[in-house]
């Protein structure tokens, strides 16, 4: 996210081709409808996957994310891909802090904004890791077990089949089903 807000406010309409949304004098005011119209639904479904489908908590996280976006509206990148990455990063941090704070006392949350695409990618991969962990835990036990006994336990299909006492073909077909379901869950949060 290089030089966010680099467009001069006093030069509306003069060469403002770098941003998707015209950063006019009403930057702060026009941000909220943009956020709600274009990003709220997506953000909600993605956060839902991270909060163990706690709708109230998800609502709070989305709301808090929107507030922080509004607080940073002067410098916030309006390009949709960058904005989406920023929102996801912030939302993910709020969720993670939420999980943490359920065990320890509330603490001030340090907010860091992705400086560039690379850190946004890292945030995305962390989000993907959280999502896949959640999705795996929600799979039917027979599908979880083949992922655990192969990939996570470091066994081949044949070894896992012996451990689980099922045919190798069954291990493979269950892995296939499991991977398809995980992929579907991941697809709901994959942002690029």
């Amino acid at each position: 996210m290089e030089a966010p807000g680099r467009e001069s406010r006093g030069q509306v309409g003069s060469g403002s081709s770098a941003t998707a949304v015209d950063p006019g004098p009403d930057r702060r005011e026009d941000l909220v409808p943009l956020l709600y119209k274009d990003f709220r639904a997506t953000l909600f479904s993605q956060v839902l996957a991270l909060t163990n489908h706690d709708r109230q908590w998800t609502e709070d996280v989305v709301q808090e994310t929107m507030i922080r976006a509004w607080q940073h509206s002067d410098t916030l990148e309006r390009e949709p891909g960058m904005l989406r990455g920023w929102l996801l990063t912030v939302a993910r941090r709020i969720v993670i802090d939420g999980w943490r704070n359920r065990r320890v006392r509330p603490q001030e949350v340090a907010l860091d904004i992705p400086e560039n695409a690379e850190s946004a990618d890292r945030a995305d991969s962390s989000l993907a890791a959280l999502t896949i962990t959640r999705a795996l835990s929600e799979l039917d036990a027979k599908y979880q077990s083949v992922i655990y006994e192969t990939y996570l336990a470091g066994n081949t299909v044949r070894q896992a089949a012996e451990i689980l006492g099922i045919p190798e073909g069954t291990v493979k077909s269950r892995l296939y089903t499991a991977m398809r379901q995980l992929r579907k869950a991941l697809g709901e949060v994959t942002v690029r």
């Binding site: 991969s125 962390s126 993907a128 890791a129 959280l130 999502t131 896949i132 962990t133 795996l136 992922i147 192969t150 990939y151 996570l152 336990a153 470091g154 066994n155 081949t156 299909v157 044949r158 896992a160 073909g169 291990v171 493979k172 077909s173 892995l175 296939y176 499991a178 991977m179 398809r180 995980l182 992929r183 991941l186 994959t190 690029r192």
Partner: protein, 86 residues
């Protein structure tokens, strides 16, 4: 899902006992190449989850099977690039 095609997920996870055999099949099966390519983000997310200790892995990082060879990566290249670009 029968026969060789069912191997795509196990191959993507690197847990096939004989990956070379499946790679031979892959060269002639575009659908399986698509399947394997489609699982790459899943395996990536699993690996990241292990790295971040969200998921347990026996003895640290999961032991991977033979990683996809250069020929296969080349064959998958178009799909993977397309995935990354979306």
């Amino acid at each position: 899902m029968r026969g060789r095609h069912a191997d795509a997920a196990a191959y993507g996870l690197g847990v096939l006992d004989d990956p070379a055999e499946f790679e031979t099949h892959l060269r002639g099966c575009a659908r399986c190449r698509d399947r394997v390519a489609g699982f790459i983000p899943v395996t990536g997310a699993l690996a990241e989850a292990v790295r971040l200790s969200y998921l347990p892995a026996e003895g640290g990082a999961p032991r991977r099977g033979k990683p996809p060879g250069p020929l296969l990566l080349l064959a998958l290249g178009v799909t993977v690039t397309a995935l990354c670009a979306t």
